[in-house]
């Protein structure tokens, strides 16, 4: 297989029909939000927004701001930011719901080869109950067709957690293990290449310790959830650890490690990495993460470097540039990527993301270009 063809295939495997949950937005470090848990039920970010997160999206982050003057029940947002614009009223009781739709347009080109398609990336319903330190969380949605596999109904995450008043927590269920920076783009090299892509949730247990200045998350699992459910031979013990230290509300340092035992499909491997988040100016956030991806059985070691620099050009308009690279091994060539994008939040519930990816494999003269437009409707 020629290098060019290999790079095309590799990029297609990553991007084509790629769908993923609405991820976290670590760019909000510029707003002094150094923890995902301020706005999301999951401490790792992404998924259902808390009432606080919903309120923020409408009253502070969106370009057109609506000041919410309506009184709300304690712990519930009201008005336009509510689930389905408040249509259910009080009928949901203490349960919070969200619907996430992600219609997208994808166009890619490499040399004379080009193609494009429209697809519905996400169609999920998310729900959570939180009280007395307990959180029950679940998502259900449509897994798009992949290859010859038809679209199916599936649940990406479902878990129960408890966190004490001292910040000690435990979570059991299906979830994405905490590692590095959980960028919204699941194809980021520190996610997809390290096994934290859209279908890489695990069934496991996570213990955590949150304090004012740090967050420690330790996870152990008998294997990847899809491998357990489908018995595809990819099941193996894995464990991750992530420690975040908030040097200040605008400066964060993260250290991570993971180990995955060998399976029928993959050799034993592990990774270790460090990341720094800087937001010394109100509108600029810079995240940089470096990881060593160590593969057993002679698979070699790759080094991954991801930078994401995001600037809020105007309220609700974020511009992003993300250079990323992965060094090659004897078996796999290295890849370098430029990702340039814009994220527009004109109003609560509506988020438009535009991204251009330019990937070049080591030894290849040609680039693989992908344009992705996503309209995230979050109800």
């Amino acid at each position: 297989m020629t290098m060019r063809l290999w790079s095309v295939v590799a990029c297609l495997m990553v991007l084509v029909t790629d769908v993923g949950p609405a991820g976290a937005e670590p760019q909000f470090l510029a707003k002094q939000y150094n923890r995902c848990s301020s706005c999301h039920y999951s401490a790792s970010g992404g998924g259902l927004l808390t009432p606080y997160g919903r309120s923020l999206s409408g009253q502070e982050l969106a370009t057109t701001r609506r000041v919410n003057s309506q009184p709300a029940r304690d712990g519930f947002v009201s008005g336009e930011e509510e689930f389905l614009f408040g249509t259910p009223g009080d009928h949901l009781g203490p349960v919070h719901l969200g619907i996430s739709l992600l219609p997208s347009h994808l166009h890619f080109k490499s040399g004379t080869f080009s193609d494009g398609r429209n697809l519905l990336m996400n169609a999920d319903i998310e729900g959570a109950y939180r009280g007395h330190g307990w959180t029950a969380y679940g998502e259900a949605g449509r897994m798009p067709p992949l290859g010859n596999t038809a679209a199916t109904l599936y649940s990406r995450e479902h878990w129960v957690s408890y966190e004490s008043t001292r910040g000690v927590g435990i979570k059991v269920g299906r979830y994405m293990p905490a590692y590095g920076i959980h960028f919204a783009d699941h194809t980021s090299f520190n996610r997809a290449d390290l096994g934290f892509d859209k279908y890489d949730q695990v069934y496991g247990i996570e213990v955590s310790r949150a304090s004012e200045r740090s967050l420690l998350q330790l996870s152990a699992s008998p294997g990847r959830a899809e491998s357990i459910v489908n018995d595809d031979g990819g099941r193996s013990f894995n464990t991750t650890a992530r420690l975040q230290v908030d040097v200040s509300p605008n400066v964060v340092v993260v250290g991570s490690g993971l180990y995955r035992d060998e399976s029928t499909l993959k050799a034993r491997h592990g990774a270790a990495g460090a990341a720094v988040g800087l937001a010394r100016w109100r509108r600029l956030t810079v995240w940089t993460e470096g990881d060593a991806d160590i593969r057993g059985s002679g698979g070699g070691t790759s080094f991954v470097l991801v930078n994401e620099t995001a600037v809020e050009a105007f309220r609700g308009v974020w511009l992003k540039v993300s250079p990323q690279g992965r060094t090659g091994t004897d078996l796999v060539p290295g890849v370098f990527r430029w990702n340039m994008g814009a994220s527009l939040l004109p109003r609560t519930h509506i988020n438009l993301n535009l991204d251009l990816y330019v990937d070049r494999a080591e030894g290849s003269d040609e680039s693989f270009k992908t344009f992705l437009a996503q309209l995230h409707v979050y109800l």
Binding site: Y33, Q59, L215
Partner: protein
């Protein structure tokens, strides 16, 4: 003749020495007993969140004049901050902090935070650099409470660089528990103040 010249020379030397001593003593006492004006202030209040992490409310609107009383470690005068200048980085959080909790519109007394009756211990006696515990009284939200923390002084020419921090328990000042849609600020926040103190005569 030589005796007279030598005598005048000795008198001149003594006179110069006396004058020099007097000038040095007056300069020291001016520094020790004169007024110092706070400039180039930076105030940061670190607010830990109940969901983990924290944010800072920041302002540079620090002003005040302090004087050293000879023979005591107490500083006369006060430092004040106009609370409406505090900025948390987002408008919604500013609005809640200033209007719902600090209630700066309630009356004039709620508009500022004032630190007075500052006692910096041995640092008041003109030590060039040093770190010491300090005490004071903080008036906030219409209530005055004693505070204590750590202060570091470093001399820069004729100015003194001051860095101080102290904890504040919100509930001690009658401020309601800050909480919005499940996200709250913990009861104890940390105030950090950095400024240059210049001799008041230098500012004229």
């Amino acid at each position: 003749m030589n005796d007279k010249r030598n005598g005048r020379r000795r008198l001149a030397i003594v006179g110069v020495a006396a004058l020099t001593t007097w000038l040095i003593a007056n300069d020291n006492s001016a520094a020790q007993t004169g007024a110092w004006t706070a400039t180039t202030g930076d105030v940061r209040v670190t607010c830990p969140l109940t969901v983990g992490g924290s944010f800072e409310a920041r302002t540079t609107a620090l002003k005040g004049t302090l004087s050293v009383d000879p023979g005591t470690t107490a500083l006369a005068g006060e430092l004040s901050v106009v609370l409406r200048t505090l900025d948390t980085g987002i408008a919604l959080r500013n609005h809640h902090m200033l209007d719902n909790y600090l209630e700066v519109e309630k009356n004039a007394d709620f508009e500022t935070a004032v630190l007075s009756h500052i006692d910096v211990g041995a640092l008041a006696f003109g030590a060039a650099d040093g770190r010491s515990r300090f005490t004071g009284r903080l008036r906030l939200h219409g209530t005055t409470q004693p505070v204590a923390g750590q202060a570091t002084l470093r001399r820069h020419g004729s100015s003194v660089h001051v860095e101080a921090s102290f904890p504040v328990r919100i509930s001690d000042y009658g401020i309601a528990d800050p909480r919005y849609l499940g996200v709250g600020v913990k009861n104890e926040v940390t105030v950090r103040v950095v400024f240059f103190a210049n001799p008041a005569s230098q500012d004229r």
